[in-house]
Symmetry: C2
Subunit: 156 residues, 2 copies
Amino acid sequence: MLETRAATTADAALITAHRRAMFAAMGRTQDSILDAMSRNFEPWAARMIAQGKYAGWITLDDGRAVASAGLLVLDWPPHPLDPDCEHRGYLLNVFTDPEHRRRGLARVLVDICLAEAHRRGIRVVTLHTSDAGRQLYEGFGFRSTSEMLFVEPVEG
Amino acid sequence: MLETRAATTADAALITAHRRAMFAAMGRTQDSILDAMSRNFEPWAARMIAQGKYAGWITLDDGRAVASAGLLVLDWPPHPLDPDCEHRGYLLNVFTDPEHRRRGLARVLVDICLAEAHRRGIRVVTLHTSDAGRQLYEGFGFRSTSEMLFVEPVEG
């Protein structure tokens, strides 16, 4: 039986494991980096959930967690797209266990996250997609942006 | 004489005027939206500057403000690109008065913003570019991302 419930601080380890698996599936496979990320992400997630800034959902199949997703509330400057709002939603950690894919679990989770953004009065939601996820998000009305990213080179 | 100085809370109105002019130059010309954004952005900017989360710089030409830019410090989940960091920098409000363009003022401001990110231990900086700005940012090493954005439709 499928069931979706809200995440609590007790789910920080599970969410972290899903985040790690998500990045590994996208080709970020260097263990030392994933270890560092996981070590730092888990307490961060617990804190953000406790502060109400990270709203997460977990999909259970006969009690076993098989998918999850989160909506992070970012402080954001009032912008023409939503001029009365000081926040933007950020959809992250959308993950489904490989053996439970193609059942529409991610779609349900994204729908819940967008409803949560609506409930909080947040009209703009962003995410970073993998190639595999693009079509799903386009179906919800997500469109590509002009975002650019800079990473400071490691000295060496 | 050209001079660049750090912004203070007293510059919130100037930064807001530059932000408005920047969006107008990018084709967002609906006054009611720009009015609402400006009304909300100005106190937001003053608060963020006071909290040390918005680091702004103003370029003066013989004492007159002719360009400005800002670096906003976002709370961000630890990520493989910078696994020990809970922040990401966001470069915004990069604006030069039309009659002072093509003098390299934006380049100097972006350089200062990236140095500020480095000083704060932030290795990843993002922005949203206009078509006109893309080449400048590419020169600094910024690359396009897979970001997607959803805006809740206005009921009608």
